[in-house]
């Protein structure tokens, strides 16, 4: 009974391994031809550099956001002290509108 089972199962297993090998052959060399890094270390370094660049972009974006927030505050103060009503008079921040809309990304 077992021998009847073993041959098809083993054939299936080895067949699956062979098919996976052929698929990996095409996808792997396709990636290398497309310019993918061949070495794992280089691929990891690329990911680390991309993360560092994303962190740096986020830091600059936060610095810009803080700068314009402070500038807007100063301008608002100057408007009010010169008798001009800012429009809108009481802006609602995204966190106060939570549940109604998603936070909008600054343009």
């Amino acid at each position: 009974m077992t021998n009847d089972l073993i041959i098809p199962i083993v054939t299936l297993l080895l067949g699956a391994g062979g098919v996976s090998f052929v698929r990996a052959l095409f996808t792997g060399f396709g990636s290398l031809r497309g310019g993918a890094r061949a070495r794992e270390r280089e691929a990891f370094d690329d990911l680390a550099r991309a993360r560092d660049a994303a962190d740096e972009r986020a830091e600059w974006a936060e610095a810009d956001r803080d700068f314009w927030r402070d500038t807007a505050g100063r301008w608002r103060y100057q408007l009010v002290t010169n008798g001009v009503e800012p429009d809108p008079p009481s802006p609602t921040p995204p966190s106060a509108r939570r549940g109604h809309t998603k936070p909008s990304k600054p343009s």
Binding site: T2, N3, L5, I6, I7, I9, V10, T11, L13, L14, A16, G17, G18, S20, F21, A24, L25, T27, G28, F29, S31, L32, G34, G35, A36, R37, A38, R39, E40, R41, E42, A43, F44, D45, D46, L47, A48, R49, A50, D52, A53
Partner: protein
């Protein structure tokens, strides 16, 4: 950026042992597998030999293509051991089958990780270098 030292020695040793095991099994077929599978024992040994050699090359040179190609062959070869031992229907056979099945699954998991490295390397190639 901190560069950690390469830790590939254990993988090189492990894959090389599998390749040598495959070479020996090709020359002198494993009797339990030959008795159960007939001529498929040579295909099984070839999978172990070719997969082990490719994976050894990949681990030695830090090139993911080696493991990407070699691991499915090795994993299915260990899967064959799992099946053959599981179907002996003995307690010791089942215990050994579980051990070999576990190795097969771990190799499969490593293959999926290497596949992810390929995907990320391909994505990075499509982007400008920061």
């Amino acid at each position: 950026m901190v560069q950690s030292p390469p830790r590939r020695g254990t993988r090189v040793a492990g894959y090389a042992m599998m390749a040598v095991g495959g070479a020996v099994a090709f020359a002198i077929p494993v009797t339990t597998i030959e008795a159960s599978t007939g001529w498929l024992v040579y295909l099984w040994a070839a999978f172990l030999l070719i997969g082990g050699t490719l994976a050894t090359y990949g681990a030695w040179t830090d090139r993911w293509i080696g493991e990407l190609l070699g691991l499915p062959l090795i994993s299915s070869a260990f899967g064959v051991y799992f099946v053959v031992l599981a179907l002996t229907r003995t307690v010791s056979g089942a215990a050994a089958a579980l051990a070999f099945g576990a190795i097969s699954l771990i190799l499969l998991a490593r293959w999926r990780d290497v596949g992810q490295i390929r995907v990320e390397a391909t994505r990075a190639a499509g982007q400008e270098t920061p």
